[in-house]
Assembly symmetry: D2
């Protein structure tokens, strides 16, 4: 829930859960004093809860209206349908599929989309449907339309760019805004192309990776997670790329898990992460 | 507040604050499922609060009794009186005094006690009273009694062992239990004496420091904060000691700040840190 | 090369390479003053080197005798034959096989041995031979003999315990001493069984993983690499296990890469890591 | 030593030391293959060395000419004369003076220069001469001239900007090029003014500090050391500033120690750090 801050909000929310017989397992709140906003995430058990599962959404909506708040409801046993977009590099895709398999990422993957064919075998090994959607320089709108059709057809609610080396148009994002990307730098350093080459050129002593929500301004979306790793003068660009793979994997996996467990709230271009 | 877990506790607490017109600034809760315990920390503004400041303590006690809970009340504008105990090494004492001076550690230091005289000049520079209480091997109980008298006389509520190289007796701790220590290892590794020498002998690749509450079992108290730093085969014992000073300073300062802001709750030999 | 320290050793080694027309790419030296030992690792290009490849070993041996030194020679284009031993958990095995596939770990894996059958499918997907060698409580020597026979038969030079949950006997290690293990704690903390459970009990704020050479004293072998990750009071044992998987993977992969590139030298129960 | 790469350089250097009876304590080399450059740092003991101390410089120069190399000679028992420049913030200045006092930073501080008077008392406590050189917006050249005169007068070889909030002109740097700065961001992110405010605006999850040599292009000089620390949505700008102080202190102290021990070599806008 997000709403303008005022006294009594924690009490109202917790009181509503308690009045209906729910037992709160986690409750996190944050007040952004500068913005005058109150953010809250409450997780409670349905066992013994007075409102039937199918009626909770309506009750929550009513509560939100009463508090003048944006409210979102999620059931933790419903696995979101997530599409993974990739290009040729396998390390992030592979890592995500492994974590889905082990139960670490509570989601379904009905679809992997790539603009190159190389990762088809990997998807087959995980028994995940693979769609090859090439992106020709002068036919990008057609490719994006094809991707949007696939997302709709498969009822996808979130797209994860696991080293998908294409920029999504603002038109695409208007129609499908829920997208998480992994950028291979410590943003806002080295926005854009070839961050490892530029990091090597600059002679930095740490490289990083940033998992963020995608917005129209490239690499400017709300940051969910950042990780870094030490490098030295002995590391060539290929060493940065190799070390970077591990830090990319970790940042993306952590960010996605936080998102899937609804521990991330976006507001005013930033995130509150209730970890 | 700590109490046995049951539904409705968040609501009761938040409701009590709201009913009295308080605006919650931070609220953190934790349920230890295994232990069946509920822990909560609520920070609210007194401005506009319906109960007069001097009556809040009694009201909180009544609330605690009603909920069958241990409750503790603190006003963030009251600076706790903290004594620092040291020996000869200056780095932790100096660091703490600097942070008090800069306002980073919300506390008063009416007293520094040391079993050696070396740090007197440092205390004088900070205008902090210094007491030299030597600890002779066969007269330890007398020294501890002298320290206890000083703590009582100066109305000290917390003692911080900033590289005080003496073990406090269980008798001392029975009478003055609120003590934080910095141990120069990543506990439970290298409990006891000379951890850096033993870390060097063992050939570890990381060394650490642990800030913890002191209990009768040496180095076994509830851990508040741990930090580590990389070492290599090129580091001699003196390099471990040098690198360790920075990690000790940071772990102790962070732990103390968390404690002073009442973000640490101890239960069943462990801590919940609401950071 | 390891030998007693004396002046002129760097010059002798570098001079020998230069006299034969070799171009040094990396040279690292370390003097353990306490032990009076000199360690050196020199990597040079064979292009233009005056001694034919097949005669270098003999020349190196002669050099070592002249300097009273232990010397080891490796050609970086020869991929060591490494066996991976596992039990039921897949994360480390999978990670290693992926890194071999991507070229990050310069080694061959002619054989995976497990005391449980679960990981056979994974090995088949990577086209790596899998041998199931059950270890019955009262028939352990027979199982170890079977493993030793397999290691000899496949001309294995290094065994990696990738979460192989069995202790190797001293008898085994006498006959096959080159073994690397990943222990799921920050050694020497939490030696032995169930380190995550004990770390949770102790309430530590960081957990770790340690990659080390295996010796007869369990978990006491020379440490190659250690990594840590933050945990909090919100983490249950299963969260420690989940977070630990990532830190185990990283520590083992880094240690193995260092070993394979001959950047690790063992002496007096410790390692020098020329990274 | 830096020179164009060719076979035999390690041998020539080590041979020269050995031929004169020196015992090498540390030797580090690095070949930048792309640039075709060879870098080497050799540390040897003078005890038993055949060339008298006062003649070594000439011998080294001759060696450098023979090898077509830039060579620098330092005696580790000679403490460089270092000036610290500061403004109003005390944390970095204080930290450096403490480390000089404890012997951790092998240098003398004959002079602290500040454009504000606030830190005079601190310098007096450490018995370090303090000069107040105000910088008026329209009289900057005069102030810089005054500083240069002081540096010459006190025979300073290195200036450390310990939160000196003024940009040095290229004219200044032409005449006094040896300057180390601490920038309160993870460069190249947040170059220029108010990095913590901009980091907060951007919603990053890690903040950093960068110690670097100063060049004409602001914040673009060769990086020596970078450190980071986690931040969360709960941290306000003042929390970033507070957390940043610790990471600034550490980065600057580490970089300065590396520089003073001549473990840093600058080439082509980057550094090799032989740590």
């Amino acid at each position: 829930m997000i709403c303008p801050d005022r006294p009594g909000l924690v009490s109202e929310l917790a009181g509503w859960v308690a009045a209906n017989g729910g037992n709160i397992r986690h409750a996190d709140h944050h007040t952004d004093v500068g913005a005058g906003l109150f953010l809250s995430r409450i997780e409670w058990q349905l066992m013994g809860f007075g409102i039937p599962r199918e009626a909770i959404a309506a009750a929550i909506t009513a509560l939100g209206e009463r508090l003048n708040a944006q409210v979102q409801l999620r059931f933790s046993d419903e696995l979101p349908r997530v599409a993974i977009l990739a290009s040729k590099q396998s390390h992030c895709l592979q890592d995500l599929l492994l974590r889905v398999q082990s139960g670490e990422l509570p989601m379904q993957v009905p679809l992997v989309i790539a603009n190159h064919p190389e990762l088809e075998g990997l998807c087959r090994a995980f028994e995940v449907p693979f769609m090859h959607v090439p992106v020709l320089p002068d036919r990008k709108p057609e490719a994006e339309q094809q991707i949007l059709d696939l997302l709709v057809e498969h009822r996808i609610e979130l797209a994860v760019l696991a080293k998908y080396m294409q920029v999504l148009s603002s038109d695409f994002l208007d129609r499908f805004p829920e997208v998480i990307n992994i950028h291979h730098s410590f943003l806002p350093a080295f926005k854009g192309a070839q961050p490892y080459h530029r990091a090597w050129e600059r002679g930095v002593k740490l490289i990083g990776a940033t998992a963020h929500y995608v917005t129209e301004d490239l690499d400017d979306g709300p940051i969910i997670e950042q990780t870094t790793v030490h490098v030295s003068h002995r590391d060539e660009v290929e060493d940065l790329i190799r070390k970077g793979r591990d830090t990319e994997r970790l940042a993306l996996a952590r960010a996605l898990r936080l998102h899937l467990r609804r521990q991330v709230m976006v507001y005013r271009g930033r995130t509150a992460v209730f970890a």
